[in-house]
């Protein structure tokens, strides 16, 4: 489909409202994206027509709900080009996906004095689970340093890699800076020392083409709600041989093959990792979000977002007092910045007065903020439905705010 911004905006009901008497400009997409009408309607349709618990139902509704649920799994498989849909596991979100790997893979494969590598730009969700694991196992967490621009220092990464490295868990695209990490190279280098790689794809999957077979990552974690889908739904991709080799995460219904009081045998993947009644409605509705993305194509989406970011950079670069944070050569559409002499929270509130929604603070990346010696940033993050005139509005707002302290 030819890229048509008006048509795309027409698909998102929430965008058509005023905030404080001004048209809403939604630039908080890295926190969560808005949902197209098809997703909202699918949720409603499910509860009105199809609601039923899935798997093992002898009746028509259960059969229908199961079919729709599994169709989403297949759509995700296709979206990330996994070999088979059994490698796609539903979770609550990226955070749970990473914790699942930490508890299961970590339990089985990480031992005393083993090393786990992460980078300075990780979200707390990709730091804390590994700290907990390291504490439990007597393993060590090593951190890849970054440059002033917000890029991984390759030589330092290579120096940290060793036969002790059992896992590299790294963000594909940074939520706070936008940096796209050279993950294919990272994965290859990690595999060369025998380490497995988990990719935190929370911020990359909506912007970049993802092919897990080409990347050869061992795990990929991401969230539906940052991909125009519902909240409360995450995905963990894992290679079959790994998923089979690791123990289950939670115990309960669905994940078993047979239970006796003496012994329980576990179900096949992916069900082994999906204990309890899952988030059926949101899974089913998520398929519509994927179809929305596929219908426009990531190539066009990325091109549009890149143009927005380039335009934002162009309009802000000469504003006196404007300090960009994260200027990597390869970025997703995130403009993170500070204004000299001003607190990010104040800047965010002043932009809100213009109807512009941004996020302010440490973005759950406190170690990264420490690296730059700042408390936080203002982050404007762009999505497929944003426009150049919205960027102009943002730049005008920033210029007006910056003048207060930078005459």
């Amino acid at each position: 489909m030819r890229f048509d911004i008006d048509e795309i905006r027409g698909l998102f009901p929430v965008l058509h409202q005023e905030v404080h008497g001004r048209p809403l400009v939604y630039f908080d997409n890295a926190a969560t994206t808005q949902k197209p009408k098809a997703v909202i309607e699918a949720l409603s349709k499910y509860y009105q027509h199809d609601n039923s618990n899935i798997h093992r139902g002898a009746h028509t509704l259960a059969d229908r709900a199961t079919r729709y649920y599994e169709e989403t799994r297949e759509a995700i498989r296709d979206f990330i080009n996994a070999k088979e849909s059994a490698e796609v596991i539903f979770t609550k979100g990226t955070t749970e996906s990473i914790n699942l790997v930490a508890k299961t893979f970590g339990n089985r494969f990480i031992g005393k004095d083993d090393e786990i590598l992460i980078s300075t730009m990780e979200h707390h969700s990709n730091i804390v689970p590994w700290q907990m694991l390291c504490e439990e196992k007597g393993a060590h967490l090593k951190v890849i340093p970054i440059t002033e621009e917000g890029e991984i220092i390759w030589d330092e990464f290579e120096k940290l890699l060793s036969p002790k490295t059992k896992l590299v868990s790294i963000v594909h695209a940074s939520n706070a800076l936008g940096t796209i990490n050279p993950v294919k190279k990272i994965i290859e280098a990690a595999h060369n020392v025998g380490a497995k790689v988990l990719l935190d794809g929370a911020q990359s999957t909506s912007h970049l083409e993802i092919d897990v077979q080409d990347l050869d990552c061992d795990f990929l974690a991401f969230s539906a709600h940052k991909l125009y889908g519902p909240t409360g739904l995450g995905i963990l991709y894992g290679k079959r041989e790994l998923l089979e080799a690791i123990p289950p995460f939670l115990g309960g219904g669905e994940m078993i093959k047979e239970v006796t009081f003496e012994k329980t045998t576990y179900n096949e993947i992916p069900f082994k990792f999906e204990a309890g009644t899952p988030n059926i409605a949101d899974v089913i509705a998520f398929k519509e979000a994927l179809e929305f993305i596929n219908s426009w194509g990531k190539t066009q989406i990325k091109k549009h977002e890149d143009e927005l970011l380039a335009y934002a950079n162009e309009l802000t670069k000469d504003i006196k007092g404007f300090i960009p944070v994260g200027t990597a050569a390869e970025k997703v559409a995130v403009l993170s910045f500070n204004i000299n002499g001003m607190h990010p929270f104040d800047v965010g509130q002043m932009l809100d007065a213009r109807g512009i929604a941004v996020r302010t603070g440490h973005h759950c990346t406190q170690p990264l903020m420490h690296r730059f010696g700042i408390e936080g940033t203002v982050r404007a993050s762009f999505a497929v439905y944003n426009t150049k005139s919205e960027i102009e509005n943002l730049a005008e707002g920033i210029a007006r705010i910056a003048r207060i302290k930078n005459k």
Partner: protein
Amino acid sequence: MSSIAAIQDEIVSEFEILGDDRESTIFYIMELGGNLADFPKEEQKDENLIKGCQSKVWLIAKEENGKVRYLADSNTDITKGLISLLIRVLDNRTPEEILSADLNFIDRIGMGNLIGSQRSNGLAAMIKQMKFYALAFQTKLNA
């Protein structure tokens, strides 16, 4: 010195001049922060921080001729503006006046809608702490 009620009326009419222009109103609140008296650097310590504020707010108070004198500071300009309004209303008054003050200007300005829920919670925490100081001085003065 005008009564607490009169000062609140003054503040409300100043905000009324700004009308519905939200951006100008927030700029104005920030400017008000500039009215705060200098806060001693050495008092910017954790024990003077007000709990419940997302931004950092330091508040100290002393008793002077039976009246409470406040000094406050913050790391954000909007918050500074908010404190400056509270100080304008409550500073240099007796503990009794402070404790019985009905701070209706906040609702009359529509401050909650203007600054959002996080800062509103912070503002409530500031008022609580200011009244707490007044109560402590009242107890001391009556002892």
